[in-house]
Symmetry: C2
Subunit: 339 residues, 2 copies
């Protein structure tokens, strides 16, 4: 189906556009009362993720309500560990928790390489339903976690300030770490390809915990697996967002992906100099700027637009926080549309 | 009193030394059974911080047990908010918690500028006792939190993944934020001067939450106050450790301080190029490297020594984690002593 609003795709193709495209990480989420109502019907977060109809419903909400230039499928990066054989729980106000974690070679051997059409059919179905609901209004972004981030949850078992268990395995048993990272990578490739077959027009890889690794560890245990995924996904444009990986941007600039995400610590000019002129850059307003008075917010958005120059997809430097006022998000979007 | 081991001070003066000095953030702490025994006697963490004899005892322990080249006074950066009028609790396995936080101009007006000789006499006394116990074996490092980090706890009330309340105040009410940061800065200067009069040979400023600010916010709300402190403290060398502030290293390099700390994300060569040849650099082994097998750890330490070159104080890129084996720390120290 031809897209009515294809400004994101044209930007990703490197074409000059009449304005910059905008979407927001966590645009489908708790800032919208409509999301909270749908989630109520799903009982809990995982119930929402695993219900294709409801997941599609919240995916489309920000297109209707906020007017973003893309939808991103409502899901969670932790569906991959679950499909590999490691179920998780989402504990309110604490985050994800894995009752079992990976310690030994036997644990790694037990993990399945995911066949997404089977074990993640609910995501595939959610994408198909979303595409019907969108009816070509805007493109749909699929996504997955990057292997290091997925690995870190599977070994650590939850979020952590230090991820010291996950990092310890890298230093103590790099071969075992590699074996698990390899299985995650193959699973992720299968998963992203299934999302694309179902209708995803773009995919994004989230390396949420990139920033806790040293440059050496990142180049050993993270970048090579992202590289494999980039090489395998040739069907649609890929965006790689490695939060906190300022030290790896030169390497990431050499990946065969279309775009790179920036967090709000990163300077657009510095990253542009590091990655060269071709990559499309995405980001990077500090989400806390959305707490600012209108005039400060508008100026902050304008400053960001100017700092990136062209080849830019407007986004935040991280996901929206639950207590951000949707009206501030609308003002941010309006500012982008008018500039 | 003349110091028997003054290699840290000679390095801070820029002198060529026979080897590099080493001390470790959180060297007095839970990795040592001796610390846990002393803490048992103090009942809890704050009891230990506020008891000069016991605080001195744990300060000296790593000098005896590990053989580090400096002691750092056992205390907490949050004694400053407490002395300003905002008491805190330390909740086991959760971290600090402030029952009251700062929201309004009245809240800021109520905060006292600290007279450390009065309200932080227990730290001053702990330093005096420690100096007697050390009897000139190694220098003693005093410390304080940098104003932005102290501010972030006073507004947020606890640790946080986002510190969105503290950051929101910067954008919503910069004048109020400035007023609080100013009071913290004056308090910190008074506190560091009291530590120096009591015998601190070096002081370190910890900007633990530097990394959650954007470059613009950091240069507006953090660096100017660190600058004021650096200008005021002329008696002894000062080390500034701004964790996560990779984006600000060029600015920090211009501060009138003697040394800069690096976290393990930062590349020594990059920072050296950013700050010029004069600053002494401190850091930056990934604490998780101390979970590695001996040969991997030794090689990691050697790589770090080589990466920094001269004008280097060996340390970690963050504090020791409680479950790190003291024997690994000893191996790290031995490797530095032999290289």
């Amino acid at each position: 189906m031809e897209l009515k609003n294809d400004i994101l795709l044209r930007t990703l193709r490197g074409e000059a556009t009449e304005r910059k495209p905008i979407w927001l990480m966590r645009q489908a989420g708790r800032i919208l009362p409509e999301y909270r109502a749908t989630r109520e019907r799903a009982k809990n977060f995982i119930g929402l993720v695993t219900n294709p109809e409801l997941a599609a419903e919240v995916t489309v909400q920000p297109v209707d309500i906020l007017g973003v230039d893309a939808a991103i499928i409502f899901s969670d990066i932790l569906v991959i560990p679950e499909a590999m054989g490691l179920p998780y729980q989402m504990i309110e106000s604490k985050g994800p928790y894995f009752p079992q974690t990976i310690h030994t070679a036997e644990d790694v051997a037990r993990m399945q390489v995911v066949e997404a059409e089977v074990s993640l059919k609910y995501v595939v179905d959610a994408i198909k339903i979303t595409k019907q609901m969108l009816a070509g209004r805007v493109p749909l972004i699929g996504f997955a976690g990057a292997p290091w981030t997925i690995f870190s949850y599977m070994v650590e078992g939850s979020g952590s300030k230090t991820f010291s268990k996950a990092k310890a395995m890298l230093y103590q048993n790099p071969d075992l770490a590699y074996a698990l990272l390899e299985k995650i990578t193959l699973s992720t490739i299968d998963y992203l390809k299934a999302q694309i077959r179902a209708g995803a027009d773009v995919v994004q890889l989230f390396d949420s915990w990139a920033g806790i690794l040293s440059p050496e560890a990142y180049s050993t245990f993270a970048t090579p697996f992202i590289q494999k995924i980039c090489e395998a996904i040739t069907e649609v444009p890929m965006i790689v967002f490695a939060k906190g990986a300022f030290f790896a941007m030169e390497d990431l600039g050499k990946l065969p992906c279309t775009a790179l995400g920036l967090d709000w610590n990163m300077s657009p000019a510095t990253v542009r100099a590091q990655v060269g002129k071709d990559k499309i850059l995405q980001g990077n307003l500090d989400p806390c700027m959305l707490y600012a008075p209108d005039d400060v917010l508008v100026q902050g958005v304008k400053n960001m637009l100017h700092a990136f120059g062209d080849r830019h997809i407007v986004n935040l430097g991280h996901g929206l926080y639950p207590d951000i006022d949707a009206n501030k998000v609308k003002l941010m979007i309006q500012t982008v549309l008018e500039n």
